[in-house]
Symmetry: D2
Subunit: 141 residues, 4 copies
């Protein structure tokens, strides 16, 4: 049952347009949890030649989206708070890991961290969703 | 003098790799201020077929980056807090406007809002930079 | 009708235990809006002899609580993001002003600023409530 | 040496005016860490008869202040992001635990959680300080 949800999410992310644009790869989804990877490319450089905050955030948001939808019902982002801790190197493969801190009928809270190849903490995020009473539309019934 | 900084930022953003990837267009830069546009495309859709949070945030981050670097010295993002208010339509052209709330020698605070074609508020962001005592490297001396 | 709500909130805040503890004074409540004052006293000093962040935040939270409950139905705080901009002086009277950025059936967003006697910006806050479908229990029907 | 710092902080908090006002008790301070307790009293009730957000935040801020000053140099709060997860009961003793997520010469990041008597998560906070190159003034040399 849960495995069906996780399989459906894996399949959906594999064809998600923005995941394709950014090279986001879903490694693992579990109950209130996800692990996502992204390679930092030259296309993601900002005006200082460093990784653009939007690229790092996109990775975080993907992990958050997957973890918060892992219960099989739709969750929509309300608020995200990101703290940038270290500047990653272009070329590195970043990993975002999302874990659930709390969940009620209507809202849920997540902690998401981003680390580089050498396990350095790059960014930390705390995020809240509003949970809809509605099954994920792409689940086969 | 200030105009030289603004011209240099315009030129730099025009060749910024991530701005090109995301279709980010700098409309105006001024002292502690910027206005940036982005067209929401199908490539930016998430697993629900809506605009990915990472895409909306990328637009916000670009406006923030430009406003905070508009004083001619390097500013690096420390913290960003985004609240999602309404879901924009794919195809819409979004505008992010960044204004400076405060500035000291070491830190500065910005308010960034995102609106759609019809002036609906899509997202609101409050963000802090650490200001380095270092000229923007791409300014011609 | 609206004036009845505002009067009821004024009366309720006048007997609110924490407002009494902290010396919080409601100056004005309007639709999605409030203005609250607090005198910084020596009792609010932290280990550095400066105003404790908890005292400044209490003022912000009071303004937020009142503005978000001003529609006559219960609102509960979900997330608050505060940026400290300048250190106020003990003895100063601080004013917090809360304005509504957005409101839907279920959530609403507020911007709250704190200023000192001389109109210097002390802190800025962005905050989100969950709106219950329930009248304020202290409204007389 | 470190123990001297921790002893000085314990002594300072014991005479901190706001800690006295709010009944904040420092249980433990360690490197980048602190544990603080506070009893929720009727004086902390808001207009709904629940614990005021300002009271819960004061506890969090105290834990944050102590953990970020535990290195022996002054740290000042830049940004705090709090998510309220559950409403605690008046009468409960709340515990806030602050842990350090990152630290550089100039900034450091903390995660602070608040739990009640029964270990329920009440609130979660992510916070950033600016670190001054200045010894804690109340350390005896």
């Amino acid at each position: 049952m849960k495995q069906d949800i996780y399989n459906a999410i894996h399949a959906r992310v594999a064809t998600e347009p923005f995941a394709d644009t950014m090279g986001l790869k879903l490694i693992k989804v579990d109950k209130g949890y996800s692990l996502v990877e992204m390679q930092l490319t030259h296309e993601m450089e900002n005006i200082h030649g460093m990784a653009h905050g939007g690229a790092i955030f996109s990775l975080i948001d993907e992990a958050f989206e997957i973890a918060s939808n892992s219960h099989g019902t739709m969750a929509v982002a309300l608020n995200m708070n990101i703290t940038y801790i270290a500047a990653p190197r272009i070329g590195d493969c970043l990993r975002a890991e999302a874990t659930e801190m709390s969940k009620t009928t209507r809202t849920a809270t997540y902690s998401i961290t981003v680390k580089d190849n050498e396990d350095n903490l790059i960014a930390a995020c705390q995020a809240v969703v509003y949970r809809k009473n509605k099954l994920l539309p792409f689940l086969k019934v």
